[in-house]
Symmetry: C2
Subunit: 473 residues, 2 copies
């Protein structure tokens, strides 16, 4: 394992050098999280379809458990059980709209990961950085368990567990556990754990921060310790179900689906589960007694248990929904944790938006009314008041608003419209509106994927390192 | 499947053009043998170890079920469930002895397969062609079920089912079913089914031909028909056991072995089976109630059933041993078929050589005495007389000898010594003589292999074709 250990040291020492000015020592965070003995026990795989441009390049890396769709280059990096999903990358000739300009792409976009270490991280969507539209670059970045790097080129960054960086270009930043950032650009900043921030220049600025005491119960991550808390226990408890999927080469579909829906063969499907038309169940999604109405999508690392989702529901990457009834078009954002129980069920009215990184952890039954925006930590009916607002009310608002720990500044309508547009776009991209011929999306295109399995050197100095591999059409 | 069908047509039409002068129409033989609907249902895999130089290149090909160890390039070819085993290729700087000259290798040798179609064929060993030692070339060649291409560069050739070309360079030849050739070089010839020929210039020349009537019972292959007969039924009956191995990614060793023996994870091991020290069980070997003494090897596509092999036994590629007791150092050559039964067991005395493509199919119990050379078709004690000779007797012989349908010409001692040297070399290469530190061979090196699984495009015009893949260390 000499080469693999050397690679880890190289990544960690660069990280320390880069984040020195932030007073951040990456080493003490990373070391405990590296399952060195497991790194040549999991395999990696990449998908081949007739829909996505094919182009993979892997060099001097460990790729345990990763998957790829679309062009991707990985060099001197470790992707431990990460999903690198390139099926929304831009292609040559595409037009990118930016601040009134139309920019034409020179080439197919490539996700390029260099000198980085991503643990159970999801990388998805495409680069929104007009400086380099052909490359979604993740450079000298360390990212912990269940972080989402979503359309966000990062260099010299450390991302804590369950954090999300969304449509943002990050440079030399430390992002705390369960922080969520959607701010366009950010440099040389340290973001505290549980900080939620959605900002669009001077147009709007939403912020909320989870009280540390409350957050630590769900996810805590300190020097020299592994991440721990409710979120970690929850995923650990369900790990075995995934192991079964990885043990076999071919797998029969667990349940029947219509021709225009797809269940990825690396998704867990248990109990009495129903999957409607135009439904996408992505890889590493977990369904148990889940009723998914037409046009719903269950994205990577999401869990839907003992719940019914009426239709056109979005369950974003890493979201968890337990003992809940969601009416039509309810959106549940990244890494949200919605935990009802049989005694304390949760219902959410139609078209409500559960913001990314919201926690609803019930001690009593709860109904969230329709068309509300919901954030922060909710345990009972009383909490709802300080952690939600009617979308229409926010739309009519312009100025400064505070509710509980939430602060909002700017145009409410711009904020609400941005969210609504994005939800429409997600539904469309995922194939919710497929009519048998038009509006094809991931639900339809995800039905036919060949998965190729790759493994590292089993012994010797290169143990754990993958050979150099280049694949193209 | 458009591209795949086109590729098949292209290969077949070149074959017809090349073999036109032989009056041979490849098309009518090939078409029936192509399981087009299965060609994107089996996967291909290649092995990665710390012992073999890594270098694979696959382009515009279908590789269903193939495996590779050592450098290999495949272009515009179809390898259907074939084993391309490059773990005995020469490497850069190696010295090749040829007719008194020492030739130094410029580069690592590569198996290069171009414009060819190999069905369940084993390609092994290295090129003995001094014109091009760095390349083991298989060009515009069609090879049928269970053929062996062993150290034999071929261009413009058609090889029938269960045929073997061994240490021979072939150019524009048609080799009939179950023919065996070891003649150094051969051009523009048609070899009849069941023809056995071992010739070394003017030094010795061994030939035998199975009577058609007898051979057809075991393997028949006519225009527009699939190969059929006892050999085909035998392998078909055991196909399902292999399918189980291919369904899973990882497999626990079926039985315990010593540290210096290896059972390939794609070998079938059933019943009460024992594997001694320094034993190699290669991929696609089939063991059922098999007792393999120290230093024994069971090569690709061999079957050992209800049998005991004392030690240092060679069971060559494709050989079948059923209800037999083999004393020490008995050699069983390529595609031999040794079928005893519980009522009619077979015993073979120590150091006897069962020649490649021998058939022993018993209707009564039979003892083959030690130190004999055995060929042809044996059904009972009487047949042994006309189909064997004491090695010592042959060694003392020089001139022309005929026994039954066998003809021998030349130096008996040169012939016997060539066989004995080769058997020693095979035992050595396979690790039979490993003493804990020296004389490592495949038995020891085969313990740690990572298998990478690759698959073709699942849909669209490229359905069944593999992407272009380049892999190196």
């Amino acid at each position: 394992m000499k080469q693999l250990e050397k690679l880890i040291s190289q990544i960690a020492s660069r990280m320390n050098a880069i984040l020195f000015t932030q007073g951040f020592n990456a080493d003490s965070y990373i070391r405990k999280c590296i399952p060195l003995d497991k790194m040549n026990k999991s395999y990696a795989f990449y998908g081949i379809t007739s829909f996505h441009p094919l182009g993979f390049y892997f060099r001097h890396s460990n790729l345990a458990g990763s998957y790829f769709l679309g062009k991707c280059a990985v060099e001197n990096s470790i992707l431990y059980k990460s999903d690198i999903r390139g099926d929304e990358l831009k292609t040559r000739g595409d037009i990118f709209h930016n601040q009134g300009s139309d920019i034409v792409l020179y080439d197919d976009e490539v996700i390029r990961i260099k000198g980085s270490f991503l643990i159970k991280t999801l990388v998805h969507n495409y680069s929104h950085n007009p400086e380099n539209l052909e490359e979604f670059l993740i450079l000298s970045t360390v990212s912990m368990h269940y972080a989402n790097i979503h359309g966000s080129p990062t260099d010299g960054c450390f991302l804590g567990p369950f954090s999300t960086v969304d449509l943002t270009t990050l440079h030399n930043c430390v992002v705390g556990a369960y922080a969520y950032l959607q701010t366009g650009e950010l440099s040389n900043k340290r973001i505290e754990p549980g900080q939620i921030r959605i900002r669009n220049g001077d147009i709007f600025d939403f912020s909320y921060r989870f009280p540390s005491k409350d957050l630590n119960n769900y996810i805590a991550f300190e020097h020299g310790e592994k991440p721990h808390g409710v979120f970690v226990d929850f995923t650990e408890d369900r790990k075995k179900d995934f192991q079964k999927l990885f043990a076999v080469v071919y797998l029969k579909p667990p349940i029947k689906t219509s021709e225009c829906a797809s269940i990825n063969r690396y998704a867990v499907v248990k109990g009495e589960t129903h999957v409607g038309k135009n439904v996408l169940v992505a890889q590493r999604a977990y369904l148990e007694n889940a009723w998914l109405g037409d046009g719903t999508n269950a994205q990577e690392n999401c869990y839907i248990i003992n719940s019914r989702l009426e239709g056109n529901n979005v369950t974003a990457h890493g979201a968890k929904i337990i003992h809940a009834q969601l009416e039509n078009k309810v959106f549940v954002g990244f890494n949200s944790f919605l935990q009802g129980s049989s005694n304390c069920p949760l219902t959410i009215g139609k078209e409500s938006i559960i913001m990314p990184h919201a926690i609803i952890d019930l001690k009593e039954p709860l109904d969230i009314p329709p068309k509300h925006l919901v954030w922060g930590l909710i345990r009972n009916r009383k909490d709802v008041e300080k952690h939600s607002i009617l979308l229409e009310e926010l739309s009519l608002f312009d100025g400064e608003l505070s509710r509980g720990l939430m602060r909002f500044k700017g145009s409410g309508s711009a904020f609400v419209n941005a969210f609504k547009d994005r939800i429409e776009h997600i539904l469309e991209t995922n194939g919710a509106y497929f009519d048998g011929s038009k509006n094809k999306g991931h639900a339809q295109m995800g039905r036919d994927i060949s998965f190729n399995i790759i493994q590292p050197y089993p012994r010797g100095p290169l143990e754990g390192i993958y050979p150099t591999i280049a694949i193209h059409s």
